[in-house]
Symmetry: C2
DNA sequence: AGGTATTGGTTGAAAATGTAACCAACAAGC
DNA sequence: GCTTGTTGGTTACATTTTCAACCAATACCT
């Protein structure tokens, strides 16, 4: 079989590139929340959604974060055990539980948002501004 | 505590965006190699490196793909069991084993590279060309 | 030569993820 | 009412990933 005109390099394969940079960027921030509060990425996400948008049922976090409900379920349990969130049954529909951060959880949220801002800025500083702009657009388009 | 002037949205947090789009893009291609050959992402990577760059020891795949050696070790074992690669001890340094694709493995490689090209093209088609260019640059800078 | 350190690679246990089955509460149809 | 279907959420099990310990071969040092 003959080689194609343009050899296919992994460095040009978008899913690979995305994965590599997502991992590289994610790891640095993970060190912060994991090292400081011993929480997982899924827990950080739940924490963030509740901190940013206020109390909501788990199903809404599932929809917003586009992750599987088991992941959320376990993250919620873990955060509850760490006393960062509390659940409250809805009286009208007793299947629903409204999740909300405790004061301790809110403090963690605020601290991590601070860090996230800093971290994000540091990442962006590595790019020319017009690339940063295009990057955001492209990622949103690809995230579908 | 007062709100910051600019509310921090997850959609603006680069690690989150990267992760979301990496997952979205990765999943589509995963269906192909997993569905067609029953291989994992780590196995596809090993397969790719060997198919693209020829025989090499595991440690070099580790270095190139920037993954942990246990992951590679297990991927190699799985590919060997599927008869897609064979190992050969180096006579000079008997710790090393040179990995190479079997003819069957090479066929899988060629098929998947075909698919990868197509898949990549389809992804890029969703972006304006100048964004695609900037995206690649940015991702490479961030993967650093 | 001998002793120690390093390297290439494997293995086992613990942690995390994905898949599917499950349960209770509600909704819809009759 | 009763049956069926759906929804919100959890649990159990298999698959993957991670972490640390491990082993054998080589390199280094005296």
């Amino acid at each position: 079989m003959t080689e194609k005109d343009t050899a296919f390099d992994l460095q040009d394969f978008l899913p690979y590139l995305l994965n590599q940079s997502a991992e590289a960027c994610g790891l640095g921030f993970q060190k912060i929340y994991k090292g400081r509060y011993g929480i997982l990425r899924s827990e950080w996400r739940v924490l963030f959604h509740l901190g940013r948008y206020g109390s909501m049922p788990a199903k809404e976090i599932v929809a917003r974060a586009r992750t599987h409900k088991t992941k959320i379920s376990r993250a919620v349990k873990a955060l509850e055990q760490k006393r960062y969130l509390k659940r409250e049954r809805d009286d009208a529909d007793r299947r629903l539980e409204h999740l909300a951060l405790t004061p301790a959880g809110a403090r963690v949220y605020r601290d991590l948002v601070e860090e996230a801002r800093r971290y994000d800025a540091a990442l962006l500083a590595r790019l020319p501004p017009e690339d940063a702009e295009a990057l955001r657009r492209a990622l949103k388009a690809l995230a579908g």
